[in-house]
């Protein structure tokens, strides 16, 4: 049986939750006696989380590249069809919001280790696609740290998890101070939240008010146009 477990790749199936029910008991009994399989389960479990996060980022980039061509209006329609796709559709730009932990940590104003750890946990959940958990963890973190980075991903997580109202509050925080790295992205997502809350006029007004002149504001103005188009 040892050889069978090792040759068949049962460890991967176990970590992915796809081991057949009639094999589960026998494999778990085997785990108590096989150091190699135990080690591979641990490494595999960590690799699974890391790979899931990488897959989510790749899909976001591909989808954002396509939608950059289609335009924000189409992005909005698609976003409203599937709330789960929000973070992937992102903003219709070539680069999706960066959600690597280091980038958010750099925006953390407080130096507390406990606060930074809570942000890390929230971002890991976000990267792994567990937006409800990410929202809960980042909401806790935001009590001590309302910096734009934390507020932005809190809002993004809440929006993806279906709580547009709470998302709007967090995203409005992420818009200040004006010109911070998350301000434009937060404005776009806040506008999406307003549309979901059936306040398209407010969304369009916010977008036009926040759009800087020239190319930098093009995405916001385009989104406003798509909302106001009859």
């Amino acid at each position: 049986m040892n050889g069978n477990w090792h040759e068949s790749g049962a460890v991967g199936a176990y970590v992915a939750g796809r081991l057949a029910p009639d094999e589960l008991d026998a494999f778990e009994a085997h785990l108590l006696e096989c150091a190699e399989c135990r080690a591979n389960v641990r490494v595999g479990a960590a690799a699974r989380i890391a790979l899931l996060g990488a897959s989510a980022r790749q899909t976001a980039r591909r989808r954002a590249a396509v939608l950059g061509g289609i335009g924000l209006a189409a992005a909005l329609v698609l976003a409203m069809v599937g709330r789960r796709e929000y973070h992937r559709i992102s903003l219709g730009r070539a680069s999706p919001p960066v959600f690597a932990g280091a980038d958010v940590r750099s925006a953390v104003a407080s130096g507390s280790r406990a606060g930074a750890a809570q942000v890390d946990l929230g971002m890991a959940a976000y990267a792994a696609g567990d937006f409800r958990r990410a929202a809960a963890l980042l909401a806790d973190a935001a009590q001590a740290d309302s910096s734009p980075g934390v507020s932005f991903y809190l809002g993004a997580a809440q929006l993806t998890a279906g709580n547009a109202s709470a998302a709007l509050t967090a995203l409005q925080r992420a818009r200040t101070p004006a010109g911070n790295p998350y301000a434009n992205d937060a404005t776009l997502l806040a506008a999406k939240a307003l549309v979901l809350l059936r306040r398209p006029d407010a969304a369009a007004a916010m977008l036009r008010g926040a759009a800087p002149p020239g190319a930098a504001g093009a995405a916001l103005r385009a989104f406003a146009d798509s909302i106001e188009r009859p």
């Binding site: 068949s8 199936a13 992915a16 108590l32 490494v43 960590a46 699974r48 989380i49 990488a54």
Partner: protein, 182 residues
């Protein structure tokens, strides 16, 4: 002399089964706190049996521990009023109970280590640990010999382990928590 010490290598066997019990308990119970309780209860009952002379050889330690653990975990699940020892559906690509087995730092380390693997190695690990495909099935899909894929996967896991610090113990050392002298 304590009865506990009459079984050779008992400490080592207990540490091994505890490490395995941690994995099983986290998967079946869904969180670390309950898993720690289950492991400690199981080891306590196991040591009682050793003291009572009910375990004659070290080879019996693992199977007896397994039997005890199943009952302990089933009792805990019944207390939670979950029907029939039901476990969370891990087939979803979203995070599952086994994710509590590893710390955020370990995930970060593995993420960095994955960048050092080749694309085919990463793709194979994805199919194994995210999609849960068996080697035979992957071999058929790719048109490659299964043995080659086994070696590729084994090399990739060994490289990850090396980059993480040569099989440095991961997890939170439940073995140390669970083992207490009477």
């Amino acid at each position: 002399m304590s009865v506990v010490r009459t079984l050779p290598n008992l400490d080592l066997r207990i540490a091994e089964v505890t490490s395995g019990l941690e994995i099983v308990a986290i998967r079946r119970l869904g969180n670390r706190d309950d898993a720690l309780d289950a492991v400690q209860e199981t080891v306590a009952r196991l040591l009682d049996r050793v003291r009572a002379g009910l375990i004659a050889t070290e080879a019996e330690v693992a199977p007896v521990a397994w039997g005890i653990a199943r009952h302990v975990i089933a009792d805990m699940l019944r207390e939670r009023a979950r029907p029939g020892g039901e476990v969370a559906d891990l087939a979803s690509p979203r995070p599952g109970p086994l994710d509590e087995l590893v710390t955020l730092d370990e995930v970060r380390r593995v993420r960095s280590a994955l960048a050092h693997l080749s694309a085919p190695e990463r793709a194979l690990l994805h199919r194994c640990f995210v999609d849960g495909e068996r080697i035979g099935h992957i071999a058929q899909a790719l048109g490659e010999p299964a043995e080659r894929l086994r070696k590729r996967k084994s090399r990739a896991l060994q490289r990850l382990a090396t980059l993480l610090g040569a099989h440095a113990p991961m997890g939170h050392g439940m073995a140390r928590c669970a083992m207490e002298e009477p």
